[in-house]
Symmetry: C2
Subunit: 143 residues, 2 copies
């Protein structure tokens, strides 16, 4: 239940991205049940490929905590993270990753050997339909 609650807030962030013409991906990071970071994709606004929602939120969360590791945190993201973001999640030794829609083309799950830290707990498919619909709708309107 709480996974869905936080994923709804990540979806709100993704909707902000869509309004700004960004690929709609949103992220929320919690630590011991408290929200410490929220962000959405800003690659177009900043003209910077590194400005994915996960990257921005990880930087925010480590600033909030005053340390580089997120082993007591949960990161909620509407779309399965890409190679870059999974690499950052690994370095942060994230406690738990919860994502919405899968991304078979760009997602980190394709990669081998596995890229996440072995202790990171992963749950996929939370509000999957809503998360993937948001991305599909965005690209349909772009065409």
């Amino acid at each position: 239940m709480s996974h869905e609650l936080f994923m709804r807030k990540a979806l709100e962030e993704a909707a902000f991205a869509a309004e700004e013409g960004e690929i709609p991906v949103g992220v929320l990071i919690t630590c011991k049940g408290k929200i410490i970071a929220r962000a959405h994709n800003q690659t177009e606004r900043l003209q910077d490929v590194t400005a994915h929602a996960e990257m921005i939120a990880i930087t925010m969360a480590t600033a909030a905590l005053g340390g580089k590791y997120l082993n007591e945190c949960t990161l909620y993201v509407t779309l399965e993270p890409c190679t870059m973001c999974a690499g950052a999640i690994a370095w942060a030794q994230l406690g738990e990753l919860v994502y919405g829609a899968s991304d078979p083309q760009r997602g980190y799950k394709r990669l081998s050997p596995p890229v996440l830290h072995p202790r990171t707990k992963v749950t996929g498919g939370i509000l999957e339909t809503e998360c993937s619909q948001l991305v599909k709708k965005f690209f349909q309107e772009k065409r």
Copy 2:
């Protein structure tokens, strides 16, 4: 020859990192033979796992060029990029990657399917001994 010239400057950046107690990795980005970005690892100073030299330099280079793609650029890095940085290099559609020392444990080359953009030209082993010695020396002094 010019690869070595630019790699020497990346090594200077790596040496700055070492002086600051950071894992010594340095990066230089050139566009049409002109240096447009240089950076070194700042993960300790910023307490941010995303602050690898490559990530900082990619953000700097896209700001300098006013666009997100680095297809006409060459990125020189003293150490083979990690998963995160390789993912960023792929999104940036980098023209050419030149690295010094290999990183069999953390480097992107372990990963399959390949993570870089198919058009990115890759050259490894430029000033390899100096690049790897800098990292080895750093960890020896840390112990």
